[in-house]
């Protein structure tokens, strides 16, 4: 009930996915090779969407827009961009 009353007030609340499931915008998907990754966290700091997990270096594909900044900035080349099917 509480969430219903929230929805009818003219106030926006911080929620993930405010622009929808932005993962559907993606044409290329970043894939992390855990064998090469040295967990330097450079991809995490430059990710504009905050979809990369800092410790595990996993990517939340529901919201990742596939911009490819992580793949270009990765110093070891562990992230590659693969075509979406």
């Amino acid at each position: 009930m509480k969430s219903l009353t929230k929805a009818y007030r003219p106030i926006s609340w911080p929620t993930k996915g405010a622009g929808g499931d932005t993962g559907s915008w993606r044409t290329h998907r970043p894939v992390v090779d855990t064998q090469i990754c040295n967990k330097c966290q450079i991809c995490w700091v430059y990710c504009p969407e905050a979809v990369i997990d800092r410790q595990e270096i996993t990517i939340d594909y529901r919201y990742c827009k596939g911009c490819g900044v992580c793949a270009v900035e990765c110093p070891t080349g562990a992230i590659s961009m693969e075509m979406e099917e």
Binding site: K6, A7, R9, P10, I11, S12, W13, P14, T15, K16, G17, A18, G19, G20, D21, T22, W25, R26, C40, Q41, I42, W44, V45, Y46, C47, P48, E49, A50, V51, R54, D60, R62, Y63, K65, G66, C67, G68, V69, A71, V72, E73, M81
Partner: protein
């Protein structure tokens, strides 16, 4: 020495799935700003890309109380809010640490339309942080010329390249005699983080300008946002400095260029990568116009080098 990436805090104030373009430098910069400011802050937004990307009611992409205001009033609205908070604390209606009031404004709302309100807030020395994320055009409305657009750049209102140089807004703010002015860019997140933390702990008006290379406006490939920002600094087209009470100090790698220990990279390579300079580079008078742009950059470097010698 800037804070290393591994020491940045975990807090995320920009939530996943907002409406910004992929590779947006504004959200990239705002994430780092969020890590430095924490959750106890109030955000003011004028019409800009950041407002368009915050999502649709009843959802919000930023984890702060956000207030959307008119284009011309970022400085005055922020002043009003910070004064109201102080009064509420005096009357005992508000307890604990006062929230940081900050304005997150594009270059149009800073250089052109919002300038008089910002100048007024700076003159009154109100306790706010004013962030300008500078993508060098009105990108939200489809890339029109702004006061921050550099010479020679293509926009929809300057189809043959802008003929005038850009303003140096950070220097203008420095001459308002405010306690803290800094310039930063998205490619150096540790440097940006340190500057915001420093600004947060200084009372009075603070101005931080973040260069944000917009791939749509600048016409380069989407993944190269950070590369472009780094190239701007290495070529001297963007300088990293901070000024506490009028005393300028330079940050790496700009300090090496200013002190002459390292030569700035030629501006050609930086211009070639961007589609907005294509017509200029292909034209018959390309060489003289590149020389003009290089001249602008050299003048800025020479000017700020001499300005830094004034320490009183």
């Amino acid at each position: 020495m800037a804070t290393s990436i591994k020491k940045l805090p975990d807090i995320e104030q920009v939530l996943s799935g907002n409406g910004a373009c992929g590779g947006c430098p504004a959200t990239m910069g705002l994430r780092i700003v969020g890590k430095a400011l924490g959750s106890n802050a109030i955000m003011l937004l004028t019409p800009s890309c950041s407002v368009a990307s915050m999502g649709m009611t009843p959802r919000l992409g930023y984890n702060w109380p956000c207030i959307n205001i008119t284009f011309a009033s970022a400085g005055s609205s922020a002043s009003g809010i910070t004064h109201a908070l102080e009064v509420m604390q005096e009357k005992g209606r508000l307890h604990g640490e006062l929230p940081t009031v900050f304005a997150w404004v594009g270059d149009g709302g800073t250089y052109d339309i919002g300038f008089q309100a910002l100048s007024g807030a700076a003159e009154r020395n109100d306790n706010i942080i004013f962030f300008c994320y500078n993508n060098e055009a009105y990108s939200n409305t489809g890339v029109q010329r702004s006061g921050a657009t550099p010479r020679g750049s293509f926009t929809t209102t300057t189809p043959t390249g802008k003929r005038q140089p850009k303003k140096n807004m950070a220097l203008l703010m420095l001459e308002h005699n405010i306690p803290y002015v800094a310039t930063a860019t998205v490619a150096y997140p540790g440097d940006l983080y340190d500057k915001v933390v420093k600004a947060k702990n200084i009372p009075g008006m603070k101005y931080i300008e973040i260069q944000a290379p917009c791939y749509l406006g600048w016409q380069f490939d989407m993944p190269e946002t950070v590369q472009m920002s780094r190239m701007a600094v290495r070529s001297g087209a963007w300088l990293l400095w901070e000024a506490e009470n009028g005393k300028i100090s330079f940050n790496n790698p700009s300090s090496l260029i200013i002190s002459g220990k390292k030569d700035a990279a030629p501006v050609d390579e930086y211009l070639m990568k961007q589609g907005r300079f294509n017509r200029l580079l292909k034209g018959p008078d390309a060489e003289s116009r590149i020389a003009e742009i290089q001249g602008d950059i050299d003048r800025e470097i020479a000017f700020i080098r001499e300005r830094a010698k004034i320490t009183i």
